[in-house]
């Protein structure tokens, strides 16, 4: 990686200067990067003019991995080293992956880590690292196209992604060296791209069927505010599943014994199934040919009627989710203004037909269903970095799955129910079960089922040093906080003694911080420069960002601080300015933390003042 320019201190860009920001759609089948240029959001092509990057990575011995079309070309010839649809593995343990029956395509390494690793010619790689390769490719493409480094990216995820899958996506971005402005739900991004806010108040549905995931979101739009009322879906249902079912049918028709099929042949059959499915959107019937083991070739045909028979059960599953989302949103079908179709799999005529029947309307397909998500992400990224200060667009999303705790008997106590608007914070009080109990195990789970074993285990931690008391006397408050990315942190506090314990939920199938640093180190070792240089640079950028932001805030509202408070804050600012010009990353980090602590009261007072100000301002308008 060419190291990018670091501007000299004192030469930072003026605050009003346009910042570069991108939206990234990290898809199961294809990935894209988009940006807003001259007021238009557009996806960025590679040097060959291709906008879609195939989400396929091929590992080779002693060489850098290949990403995209080049890798995809080796899908059947070098199947073990060529990984596709890695999104389906994100945040998942090996047992989950095998349930999805795609684990037989790869050699999974035995390892101590809970994160599965695929054994390739380029070494053992985790899904996070594979995704990071895709992200890096998009990052270089964007930098080449924009002529510089970007401030940050909005990365989209399926709305139905759970905490572990979201965290894995964020980890991949970190590994790729991409600052994440926000994780954005794909259907919400699509709604933004459709510009549904302009003159289209009311209830809208986004039906998003991609290569490997399905989401349905129901949004209410009002004056630039996109309020997601409910979301439902399935993170293991998409076009891949259509292909698999069609290919199984083809294999049966051709009379091929499944036992004799190797990985390469299986993939060839799936490719043929995919081609047939796509062509049937135009043709009434398509010819199929499958190579046979004896060197011969089976030929047959597939028509639309048969395709419907194969696909309908899967499409019905998506409609079931639509029904649930409508119920959760408390919305009747008659209230829905329109249905927007997103994701490559909505090109299928049968999908459009059944969705149209269900919602009793003609689904909207105006924007390229492959590009719409990246475009929406780019629009939000542009707003988040402050390029459109007067835009009042605001996205209020929800968590897709309930968050809870394990209680006695392996039961789940839900703390934050599904479809709660984020950010969200909720606390629940618990007590000790035995006399003299000094520790409490906290097990955080996500899911709708009542038994812990049926939900996804997110994290475990122990609150220790509770003073011994009789059973039931301790008051332990467990607080869940979900941020705007849908990521959870949990804290537990014994109220009578003040003993406290906090975890940023690192999912059970997630990477530990150490593992990420190791991976970073590894990737740097491959001629990409020095990890310490990168760390220093990251801290300097962060310091600069904070100083600029605080400077602006102080100019605006510095008056709300007393002289002493101002002096303390100024001292922390000076300390950071001094640290920032040095070359000690840790020193800068410490100074950043100190400044953050010193500015907390100021930030809180500003928040209160602006809330009061808004209410007062409204009153004046009302009476005038």
């Amino acid at each position: 990686m060419a190291l990018l320019h670091i501007s000299e201190p004192g030469q930072t860009a003026a605050p009003h200067q346009r910042k570069l920001a991108v939206g990234i759609d990290l898809g199961t089948t294809n990935s894209l990067v988009a940006t807003v240029r001259s007021g238009r959001a557009e996806t960025l092509p590679d040097t060959n003019g291709e906008h879609l990057l195939a989400s396929v990575v091929r590992y080779r011995a002693g060489e850098a991995p290949l990403v995209g079309a080049e890798a995809k070309a080796a899908t059947t010839t070098d199947p073990r080293n060529t990984v596709s649809s890695v999104k389906r593995f994100m945040g998942r343990g090996l047992a989950d992956i095998c349930k999805g029956c795609s684990c037989t395509d790869y050699d999974f390494a035995d390892s101590d880590s809970s994160v599965p690793r695929i054994r390739t010619a380029g070494g053992d790689v985790s899904p996070v690292e594979i995704s990071a390769e895709i992200l890096k490719t998009l990052k270089y493409r964007a930098e080449a196209s924009l002529g510089g480094e970007f401030t940050g990216a909005v990365i989209t995820v399926p709305a139905y992604f759970d905490d572990a899958q979201r965290q894995a996506t964020k980890d991949a971005a970190q590994l790729a060296g991409i600052p994440v402005l926000r994780l954005l739900n794909e259907p919400t991004a699509a709604a933004v791209a459709y510009g549904l806010d302009h003159g289209s108040e009311g209830v809208h549905v986004v039906y998003d069927l991609g290569g490997g995931t399905f989401d349905i979101s129901i949004l209410r739009l009002n004056r630039g505010v996109f309020e997601v009322m409910a979301t439902a879906g399935n993170t293991a249902l998409g076009g891949d599943d259509f292909d698999r079912i069609i290919s199984q049918w083809l294999r049966e028709q051709a009379g091929i014994d499944p036992q004799t099929v190797d990985v390469g042949q299986r993939r060839a059959m799936v490719q043929e199934a995919c081609r047939a499915k796509e062509q049937l959107s135009e043709a009434e019937t398509v010819l199929i040919s499958l190579p046979l083991a004896d060197g011969g070739c089976w030929t047959g045909s597939l028509d639309r009627a048969q395709l419907s028979v194969l696909m309908d059960p899967l499409i019905r599953q998506t409609l079931s989710a639509c029904r649930r989302a409508l119920r959760d949103a408390d919305i009747d079908i008659s209230e829905v203004e329109d249905v927007v179709m997103v994701g490559g799999s909505t090109r299928s005529l049968r999908v459009r037909e059944l969705v149209g029947e269900f919602f009793q309307c003609q689904p909207k397909v105006n924007i390229d269903p492959d590009k719409v998500v990246a475009v929406g992400a780019a629009i939000q990224a542009d707003i988040l970095v402050g390029n459109k200060p007067d835009d009042d667009m605001l996205l209020l999303d929800v968590i897709p799955l309930s968050l809870g705790l394990e209680t006695m008997g392996g039961l789940v106590e839900k703390i934050i129910p599904r479809n709660t608007t984020i950010p969200a914070a909720r606390a629940q009080d618990f007590t000790t079960f035995k006399d003299g109990q000094t520790a409490l195990a906290v097990h955080v789970v996500q899911g709708e089922r009542e038994l812990v074993d049926d939900c996804r285990s997110l994290a475990r931690f122990v609150l220790r040093d509770i003073p011994p008391m009789v059973a039931g006397a301790a008051r332990i408050r467990v607080t869940f906080q979900v941020d705007a990315d849908g990521l959870l942190s949990v804290s537990a506090r014994e109220e009578t003694s003040g003993v406290e314990s906090t975890v940023q939920v690192k999912p059970s199938y997630g990477l530990s911080d150490d593992e990420i640093v190791d991976m970073l180190q590894d990737s740097m070792a491959h001629a990409e420069g020095d990890v310490s240089v990168r760390m220093l640079r990251e801290q300097q950028v962060e310091a600069k960002r904070i100083l600029e932001s605080l400077d602006a805030a102080l100019r605006e509202d510095g008056a709300i601080l007393s002289e002493n408070e101002r002096a303390a804050l100024d001292a922390a600012v000076v300390a950071l300015r001094e640290a920032e010009v040095g070359d000690d990353a840790r020193h800068i980090k410490t100074a950043i933390q100190a400044l953050n602590a010193a500015s907390t009261e100021f930030a809180a007072r500003r928040m209160d003042a602006s809330i009061k100000g808004a209410m007062a301002g409204r009153k004046v308008e009302e009476f005038s």
């Binding site: 969200a424 009261e601 930030a603």
Partner: protein, 179 residues
């Protein structure tokens, strides 16, 4: 510390009352989130971002509470020092009979000639009763004497029963909808 302690009516600048105009509430909600939401602090300091998450969560919680008659009733009673959980009165016999009857008709849905129609009927019955109870609550909560508030508490508890029935109805609906 940002002011996370003031009660929801104050936060939304609404009179402390069960009668909340849904449109005004929604408009205030959007106004508050335009100020506090983390999307407005992406370039901010960690301190600003942390406070923004806390405040936005508080606003979301307030909106959820004030929007829903059951949550709003419960919250308002708590502000007035009356908790739903330590009710010493037993709900009247007529109400309990009605609950039993509704449960029976729910039980019959599956075996009826047209389950969807039957389900719709039960659902409408429940909705009508909920409206009545909500009206009663509004009326009682306008009074400030203890007797009225205690009656309001009982009405709120009744509403809770209906909420549970509705949840079970949703499960039933989901089961009937399985293709």
């Amino acid at each position: 510390m940002a002011d996370l302690s003031s009660h929801f009516f104050h936060l939304f600048d609404l009179p402390v009352s069960f009668d909340v105009d849904a449109e005004t509430l929604a408009a205030r909600y959007r106004e508050l989130q335009q100020i506090a939401h983390p999307d407005k602090f992406v370039g901010g300091t960690d301190a600003e971002r942390r406070i923004s998450v806390q405040m936005a969560a508080r606003i979301n919680e307030g909106f959820r509470t004030l929007k829903d008659p059951l949550a709003r009733g419960r919250y308002l009673l708590e502000l007035k020092g009356i908790s739903l959980d330590d009710a010493d009165t037993v709900l009247d016999g007529t109400f309990l009979m009605e609950q039993i009857e509704l449960r029976e008709s729910m039980g019959d849905v599956r075996d009826s000639a047209d389950p969807h129609q039957a389900l719709q009927q039960v659902s409408q019955d429940i909705a009508a009763r909920k409206r009545q109870i909500t009206d009663n609550m509004a009326h009682l909560l306008r009074e400030d004497d203890l007797a009225s508030l205690q009656q309001a508490r009982d009405e709120t508890r009744k509403l809770q029963f209906f909420r549970r029935l509705e949840e079970e109805l949703d499960v039933l609906d989901e089961e009937l909808a399985e293709f």
